[in-house]
């Protein structure tokens, strides 16, 4: 009794703040549903068109028609829900923050993913996690589920996209540091492209990973401890490390373009809203 409650509280702890922060972040972007930019079933006015034979009489907009001799029919914008699948890298490498004031990459990725999900749910879309079998759904309960899933840390040192559920013609968002092997990423993107799924790659990096501010005799090791590298002069490695990083970014960008995806780089040192804005725009443009 006495120990259960603190444990339960500790377990539940990350969820509300993450949700709250994500909602806060999402609130800054936009509100409302997103039309499909073409006539169809929906609530929002789209256009008036002259009535044609076959249109039911009650479809005629009498107020518009009274101003002229023609009959007009009011068409609504088609508002159909779209599924957006998220893959958020929860591998050990994401649990890294170089400074005290910084949050880890995992936290930042989860935050941006959840905020995007909130925006999408607000916009009437269905959201889901690609690595679970559950179908994409809408509503606050789904957000809770996503938040709970994002709070669970993953085991491997470096993550790879996992596409358990990817409905055809859905949209997908991959958030990772993409520091692991790129082959699984390429495979996942190819699979997605085969199913007609397009989306966005958001690479989340720590400023230290971008700047490599190290020197002296150093043993570098991965967060999980599986990989280690010793150097006597860390400062000498900087240029070559940065080259390799740039090469990796270029490869990702190229992969994305080839499969019709979009690629963006985000640093945990920057404000999350910029990444959210980009991600939202990227999804909006295609949806």
């Amino acid at each position: 009794m006495t120990r259960l409650r603190p444990r339960a509280e500790a377990l539940a702890d990350p969820l509300p703040p993450l949700l709250a922060r994500a909602r806060h972040l999402a609130a800054g972007i936009v509100l409302g549903e997103h039309g499909r930019r073409r006539p169809g079933l929906g609530d929002a006015f789209w256009q008036f068109r002259p009535a044609q034979p076959g249109d039911p009489a009650r479809a005629i907009d009498w107020r518009r028609s009274a101003r002229s001799d023609q009959h007009f029919v009011q068409e609504k914008e088609w508002q159909a829900a779209q599924a957006v699948m998220f893959w958020v890298d929860r591998a050990a490498s994401m649990r890294f923050a170089s400074g005290k004031g910084l949050e880890t990459k995992a936290e930042r990725a989860a935050l941006i993913a959840l905020a995007t999900a909130i925006l999408l749910v607000n916009g009437g879309e269905r959201v889901g996690l690609s690595e679970t079998e559950a179908p994409p759904m809408r509503g606050p309960l789904q957000l809770e589920r996503i938040a709970a899933a994002l709070a669970e840390p993953g085991a491997p040192d470096y993550g790879a996209p996992h596409l358990a559920t990817l409905p055809r013609h859905a949209r997908a968002v991959f958030l990772s540091d993409f520091l692991g092997p790129l082959d699984p990423v390429e495979a996942a993107l190819t699979t997605a492209a085969d199913r007609g799924v397009t989306g966005a790659l958001l690479q989340v990096l720590d400023p230290a990973e971008e700047g490599f501010p190290y020197g002296g005799r150093t043993v570098f090791q991965s967060v999980g401890g599986s990989v280690a590298h010793e150097t006597r002069q860390a400062g000498d490695l900087k240029a070559r490390y940065l080259d390799r990083l740039a090469e990796r970014k270029a490869r990702l960008d190229e992969l994305a373009r080839r499969t019709g995806w979009q690629y963006h780089l985000h640093h945990t040192g920057d404000a999350p809203s910029s990444a959210l804005l980009w991600l939202y725009r990227a999804l909006e443009g295609r949806i």
Binding site: F96, Y158, L179, E209, R217, Q221, H229, R232, Y241
Partner: protein, 926 residues
């Protein structure tokens, strides 16, 4: 000893280790710093990257330097570096250390002793024999050399002290002339730098005997001449031995303040002009202050010559004059006070007025000129004043002769009984000629005064013969009849001059003898220092004496010295200090009013030196400290270099704190004085009981207060801590609002200190509940029980106001509960509290008197309340109270009394405020 410049080393071979420093340099360069482990997800991108430069990242040169410096500091530190090492110049033959031990040597006496000690230690190392000779105590026989092993001679040095006078070098010269010229005596002369007639000759003789080194401080010696009164101002003159440049010194006048504590009363600065050897300051002091100044001294200078004692010459005594018959206008020359006034005004503060007022001003002397009778109140006041040390001087006259005073029985304010009428001599109706004075007897205070021939007495009052008359007579006429009589009264004395204070009966007031006699009686003070003639025939006892450092100490029972000797220069026979004869005091100062300080002059070829470089100082401690500090800095630097400092600012701070702790000398002291129980009691309301030493009673007291605390906790918003037992001798009482004191018959009486603290506690608002626990067998206050008697003796030293049985309107009856009686285990006996003020009035329509003041400091009763309150661990009553339901009711009432008592202590007379009257009235059903 190996030395480099001003630094010598006691273990110089250790310095060889410095050669190893380059090796250390190479080693430190060769060993790479330990790698840092860093978590870095991007490591996967680093895999396969080789170091271009295979050489390790080197330790930076400044860190290397830091480490080398630390090691070097350690090596040098352990090598025993010494600043200003004494040059160990080996000499041969006996060494004589000649010390000028006059007052002028006192300011730098420790340095002198140290110099002598160093010289003797060197001599000891060289196996030489040595002698320490003090100038004030030359060896008895000329030429005798008290040689000893140098170490033994050095052992006697700490016992030496400067003498409070300037020693004469004459005897030393005689002694030195007798020394064996072939002995090759080496002399170290620690000179005090003052001029002395035989100094140059002595130096010459010693220089002939062997090498002579003179150590003399270059700073001029400073001294003070006695303070004088010049035109109403106190004049203080400082002297210096050498007219050096401008110099400013501060002097302080010290004396007792009104509370009798010695403190600085006046402070002044004296400026020596450039080239001047005298500086003078004139101080304008009010007489009250001036009379209290006991001595002047130069601030910051410990030497007998820098102190000058003030004596009667600086003091103006307060003399009150009272005349017998007032209202004789126009007869100024016949006024009994005229001559007294003339004689006293220059040297004393003269007061006149009604007797009662004058006694109240506390004069030193009261003179009654021909006053026969005093009002009884005045006489009584005067008698008290004399008994406290005053001097009452009475003069006879027609009124005294005619009055009844002193006839028949002893008048305390007259030294002798008087015969009626007196006598007159040399008048028209008498045979005898006016009488001259007989020479003063040896035990008379006037002994030694010359009697002018023309002093005659033509009329006087006569003393009744009696056994005490002879010893009370201090001056007599040629025919033996007493002229001045005296008796002691308490600490003071009463003196009667059997003649008048004017020229009516005697020509004495016209002569200079009159003034001298007044001075001898300490009625007036002499204008300047007493001269030789004046002091002739007197004996002076030293009261307080100066030592060489200028400190005053009690003279003990040193023999008195003749007055003639007092005016001489201070020396071994006449030590400077304060001397007393009768009521007079004379100061003998090191420097007289005409004294001049001169610098010592040395013959050609002898140059005094004084080590400026300072004494030897061991530097190893400082160097080792520096090494430690460098190593601590190295820790921080290494941490910073490896990046660990930036990562853990906390650990860096901890390291720094550790370094500071290590480097901070001194000890950490625990805060003492306040124990934990006191702190806990101060935190919260805590009831206390006095530990009686009887374990059973103490247990009941504690359980009782615990039970009461529980009840108070339950019933009110007061939430007391568990009760505490207090030891009256040791514990702090102020933190307890209420102390329960069970009185036992065999209780030890607290000490005076404990009573003082109890009284302070009661005065500061504490309350003590006395419980004699005998309510079942005795009424309180009967004193019939052992406890009652004990309570009386225990409470006697306590500061307890008048008491009364609790009145029915006392605030205790309504502080929380409305109560009529205050039972404990015993019921119904009255309890006593502080009495209400007598003027407490009961307003119309009010049930209570207006008693808006104070909390009773004590509540005294015998109902054994603690017994009724006591509960055991389970909260069950410990002791039975009464029987059945009535007993439980009584216990409840006891608790209510306890609650009321605590409320009364905590809220004071809050419930006594008339604001509560309506509510209380309603409650009372009135």
């Amino acid at each position: 000893m190996f030395s480099l410049g001003p630094i010598g080393f006691s273990a110089p071979w250790l310095l060889l280790a410095l050669v190893a420093l380059p090796v250390l340099w190479w080693l430190l360069r060769a060993v790479p710093p330990a790698p840092i482990r860093r978590v870095f997800p991007g490591v996967i991108l680093l895999l396969g990257l080789d170091d271009k430069d295979h050489e390790t990242d080197r330790t930076p040169w400044w860190l290397l330097l830091l480490r080398l410096l630390a090691v070097a500091a350690m090596i040098v530190g352990f090598a025993g570096p010494v600043l200003n090492p004494e040059p160990r110049v080996p000499g041969s033959g006996p060494l004589v250390v000649l010390i000028d031990d006059g007052w002028a040597a006192a300011p730098d006496w420790p340095a002198r002793i140290e110099a002598a000690e160093r010289a003797l230690k060197t001599a000891q190392a060289a196996g030489r024999r040595a002698a320490v000779v003090l100038v004030s105590q030359p060896p008895r026989d000329p030429g005798e050399l008290p040689l000893r092993a140098a170490g033994d001679a050095a052992a006697a040095l700490p016992g030496l002290a400067p003498r409070p006078f300037a020693p004469d070098h004459g005897p030393m010269l005689d002694w030195a002339r007798g020394l064996d010229a072939s002995a090759q005596v080496e002399t170290l002369w620690l000179s005090d730098g003052l001029e002395s007639p035989a100094r140059a000759d002595l130096a010459g003789v010693l220089a002939d005997l062997g090498p002579l080194t003179v150590l003399e401080p270059p700073a001029p010696r400073l001294g003070l001449r006695p303070a004088r009164i010049e035109g109403g101002m106190v004049q203080v003159t400082a002297l210096r031995s050498r007219p050096a440049g401008a110099q400013e010194i501060a002097i302080t006048g010290l004396g007792p303040d009104p509370a009798g504590v010695e403190r600085a009363l006046v402070r002044a600065t004296l400026d020596f002009a450039d080239g001047a050897s005298e500086a003078r300051a004139e101080l304008s002091l009010p007489p009250e202050l001036r009379n209290r100044v006991a001595r002047f001294e130069i601030e910051g200078l410990r030497a007998a010559g820098a102190v000058t004692l003030a004596d009667d010459s600086l003091r103006r005594r307060k003399v009150a004059l009272i005349e017998g018959g007032a209202g004789r206008e126009g007869l100024e020359l016949l006024s009994p006070l005229h001559y007294l006034r003339e004689a006293l005004t220059p040297t004393a503060e003269v007061l006149e007025g009604p007797l009662a007022d004058l006694v109240a001003t506390g004069p030193d002397v009261i003179i009654l000129a021909d006053v026969a009778t005093l009002a009884p109140a005045g006489a009584e006041a005067l008698q008290t004043w004399v008994a406290e040390g005053g001097l009452l001087l009475r003069f006879a006259g027609p009124r005294l002769a005619a009055a009844d005073a002193g006839r028949g029985d002893d008048d305390p304010l007259l030294p002798v009984r008087l015969r009626a009428g007196g006598r007159s001599l040399g008048g028209a109706m008498s045979w005898g000629a006016p009488r001259a004075l007989a020479p003063f007897a040896e035990d008379s205070p006037f002994y030694g005064l010359a009697i002018p021939d023309d002093v005659t007495v033509s009329a006087q009052v006569l003393a009744e013969p009696g056994p005490a008359l002879a010893e009370r007579t201090i001056a007599a006429l040629a025919d033996g009849t007493p002229l001045v009589t005296r008796k002691a009264l308490g600490d003071g004395q009463v003196v009667l001059v059997h003649s008048t204070a004017n020229a009516e009966w005697s020509s004495l007031p016209l002569s200079g003898l009159f003034v001298q006699m007044l001075e001898r009686l300490a009625v007036s003070t002499p204008a300047g220092s007493p001269d030789r003639g004046e002091l002739a025939g007197t004996t002076w006892l030293p009261e307080r004496l100066l030592d060489g450092f200028g400190a005053l100490s009690d003279a003990g029972d040193r023999p008195g010295i003749a007055g003639e000797a007092l005016t001489g220069t201070p020396g071994p026979e006449l030590l400077p200090g304060l001397y007393r004869a009768e009521a007079r005091r004379v100061a003998v100062n090191v420097l007289g009013p005409e004294a001049v300080l001169g610098a010592a002059d040395w013959p050609m070829g002898i140059t005094p030196e004084w080590q400026d470089a300072g004494p030897e100082r061991d530097l190893s401690g400082w160097l080792l400290m520096a090494a430690l500090a460098l190593l601590a800095a190295d820790i921080l630097a290494a941490l910073a270099l490896s990046g660990r400092l930036a990562h853990g600012a906390g650990s860096a701070a901890a390291g720094l704190a550790l370094a500071l702790v290590v480097l901070t000398p001194g000890e950490t002291r625990a805060q003492d004085g306040i124990d934990l129980a006191t702190i806990a009691a101060a935190d919260n309301v805590t009831l206390a009981y006095v530990r009686t030493g009887n374990p059973g009673i103490d247990r009941v007291s504690e359980a009782g207060l615990a039970g009461l605390s529980d009840q108070i906790f339950m019933r009110s918003s007061v939430e007391p801590s568990p009760p505490a037992g207090v030891d009256l001798e040791a514990d702090e009482l102020a933190v307890y609002p209420l102390i329960y004191w069970p009185v036992t018959a065999d209780q030890p009486t607290p000490s005076d200190a404990a009573y003082a603290r109890l009284n302070a506690y009661l005065r500061a608002g504490g309350m003590i509940l006395f419980d004699t626990r005998d309510g079942d067998i005795a009424g309180f206050g009967s004193g019939t029980t052992a406890e009652g008697a004990r309570l009386r003796s225990l409470a006697r030293p306590l500061d307890i106001p008048p008491l009364e049985p609790v009145p029915s309107d006392h605030v205790l009856t309504r502080a929380f509960y409305l109560l009529n009686d205050f039972p404990g285990r015993h019921a119904g006996r009255e309890i006593w509290v502080e009495a209400a003020p007598p003027d407490a009035e009961r307003a119309d329509g009010m049930p209570f008197r207006n008693l808006n003041d104070g909390v009773t400091p004590v509540v005294i009763g015998g109902n054994d309340w603690a017994g009724a309150w006591a509960v055991d661990e389970t909260g069950q009553p410990m002791l039975p109270v009464g029987r059945g339901y009535a007993g439980e009711r009584q216990r409840e009432m006891a608790y209510r009394f306890g609650v009321n008592l605590v409320m009364h202590v905590l809220t004071g007379n809050y419930k006594s405020d008339q604001v509560h009257v309506p509510a209380l009235l309603e409650r009372l059903g009135q």
